[in-house]
């Protein structure tokens, strides 16, 4: 198993946001997290790269293993963990730097200065995120000149550049138009070959299209977790059934 969580509880001060989440995720799969707003999907996603640590008053109990390593162990170096577990945010958030420097950023902060190496890695990452052809002639232009969809693919390239093995995506297409969304979905399908992907999505069709496994969250609990096919055609829990068929959420 690439990722394993056991009885994970998370509290925002007194608020119990995640309740006993146990889940296993295999390498090179796409796992979709679905559920109504506020049920804890983003919170759970942030557990894997310890971004919740940045929020005052957060407490976590339980075990989270990545490649057999407990990531909340004292020994874990958070910056190294975040190199291994990349993240793409809901709203594209490229830095106010050039396209090139955006992708190079993760390399530079991780102490890589070799110009040639950086150039090659930037180009490769942009190829991987299917953006290269669109930006190869304007690498020095500001990332803000790109469209929203391009910016999001730039953010994916930025994450890929430091060679993570896991990519977390928090509703990566919710701010994008249908064509850009389709491109991101294609990309996820491609990336699955080499990466383990966890994606939060509000869009049932999207979950159905891109994911192998789906977890349904409700009020901080993982209600049901199974093959995407089963969740969408034959869920065991009536609450999952209701959510899928649009009766609430």
């Amino acid at each position: 198993m690439k990722i394993r969580t056991h009885q994970v509880n998370l509290y925002y001060s007194d608020f119990h946001a995640l309740k006993g989440i146990t889940m296993e995720i295999s390498a090179n799969t796409v796992t979709a997290l679905i559920g109504p707003s506020g049920c804890g999907k983003s919170t759970f996603l942030r557990v894997f790269n310890r971004m919740n640590d940045l929020i005052d008053g957060v407490k976590i109990t339980g075990d989270i293993f990545i490649d057999g390593q407990e990531i909340y162990d004292r020994k874990t170096n958070i910056d190294d963990l975040r190199k291994n577990v990349g993240m793409v945010f809901q709203k594209p958030n490229p830095f106010p730097k050039s396209i090139f420097e955006n992708v190079a950023y993760g390399l530079r902060v991780n102490g890589i200065n070799d110009k040639k190496f950086i150039e090659e890695r930037v180009e490769r990452s942009l190829h991987q995120s299917a953006l290269w052809d669109e930006v190869k002639d304007k690498m020095k232009k500001s990332a803000f000149e790109l469209s929203g969809g391009q910016q999001q693919r730039l953010c994916i390239a930025r994450a890929l550049a430091i060679e993570p093995s896991i990519i977390l995506m928090d509703e990566p297409a919710s701010a994008l138009d249908p064509i850009s969304t389709a491109k991101i979905e294609e990309l996820i399908y491609e990336l699955k070959k080499n990466y383990t992907i966890i994606i939060v999505t509000h869009n049932m069709q999207q979950a159905g299209r891109v994911s192998d496994k789906t977890g349904f969250f409700y009020l901080g609990e993982l209600i049901e977790y199974d093959d995407t096919k089963i969740i969408f055609t034959n869920p065991k829990n009536p609450r999952t059934q209701n959510y899928i068929t649009g009766r609430f959420g």
Binding site: R82, S98, Y105, R158
Partner: protein, 292 residues
């Protein structure tokens, strides 16, 4: 007339009145500014000459130039900024990026805000007591710069804090998510993005420093000193104090009038030039942030 229309025309009338009122008010502000500037310019313009800008004062300051006061003011601006800018920016970074919400942070903020409200003459007294006497710097550029620096510290801290706050949290998150440390995130993302606004703080402080008289009164300013300083322990003349002296206690106040207006004009011009320079800097960094 239908009821709805009546209400909406009533609303529009109110809108129009409010709008015009605001317009008149803002025009009058501009008008007052223009009047002051033209008054000083017309009165002072005749006094301005190459000699006035580059010569020492003579004849009980009724003749000659104001060169040492110009130089003195420049030294004081530079000295106070050298002191206040790094300390202010670093404090603001600490308060905004490192300190946890809580008693200490609230206390520091309260103190900075109070510091900003203290009358400048009090800073003058404090500077005299601490820098001039206790630390033994004497009446000197050093003591004056430190006093002016203290005075402007709250401005630097507050504008820097605002500038840092204006950087959207999502940029920081994006950086952390790539394995960047806090320091790297501040240095590579937050500071470049807030630099243009931090420079605005610098502009405001320089404006304030160059015009203050009270803080330099007991710490550095010389009544009449027709030579240039050779070290930071020397006294200097400064434009605002010179202006004060020749308008109130010179040997011949009536005869010094043109010089007084000339001095005022030079002071305003310096503030203006420094502002323009800093604005250019701000624009330069603003573009760099986008392009870099």
């Amino acid at each position: 007339m239908a009821e709805g229309e009546k209400i909406s025309s009533n609303k529009m009338l109110k809108q129009a009145i409010a709008f015009n009122l605001f317009r008149i008010l803002s025009f009058s502000v501009v008008a007052i500014l223009i009047i002051i500037l033209s008054f000083i310019t017309i009165k002072g313009f005749r006094a301005i000459s190459w000699e006035f800008l580059t010569a020492m004062p003579e004849d009980g300051m009724t003749k000659g130039g104001i060169y040492p006061a110009i130089i003195g003011t420049f030294y004081l601006i530079a000295g106070s900024m050298l002191f206040a800018f790094p300390i202010g920016v670093l404090s603001a970074i600490y308060i905004n990026e490192y300190a946890k919400d809580g008693f200490f942070k609230r206390f520091v903020k309260l103190m900075t805000n109070n510091l900003a409200g203290i009358p400048s003459i009090v800073f003058g007294l404090f500077g005299m007591s601490l820098f001039v006497n206790t630390l033994g710097f004497g009446d000197s550029i050093l003591a004056g710069s430190l006093t002016l620096g203290l005075l402007t510290l709250p401005v630097v801290i507050r504008t820097t804090e605002e500038a840092l706050k204006a950087v959207d949290h999502s940029f920081r998150l994006g950086s952390y998510a790539l394995g960047a440390t806090k320091l790297q995130t501040i240095r590579r993302v937050v500071l470049p993005m807030s630099l243009p606004n931090i420079i605005t703080g610098l502009i405001l402080s320089i404006g304030r420093v160059s015009g203050e008289t009270a803080p330099i009164l007991f710490t550095v300013a010389a009544y009449f000193l027709p030579k240039l300083p050779t070290s930071i322990f020397d006294q200097v003349m400064a434009l605002p104090y010179h202006l004060y002296v020749i308008s109130t206690s010179g040997t011949n106040i009536e005869e010094s009038r043109p010089i007084a207006y000339g001095t005022a004009l030079v002071l305003i011009a310096i503030v203006l030039i420094v502002n323009l320079l800093a604005n250019g800097l701000r624009r330069y960094f603003g573009n760099k942030v986008k392009m870099n």
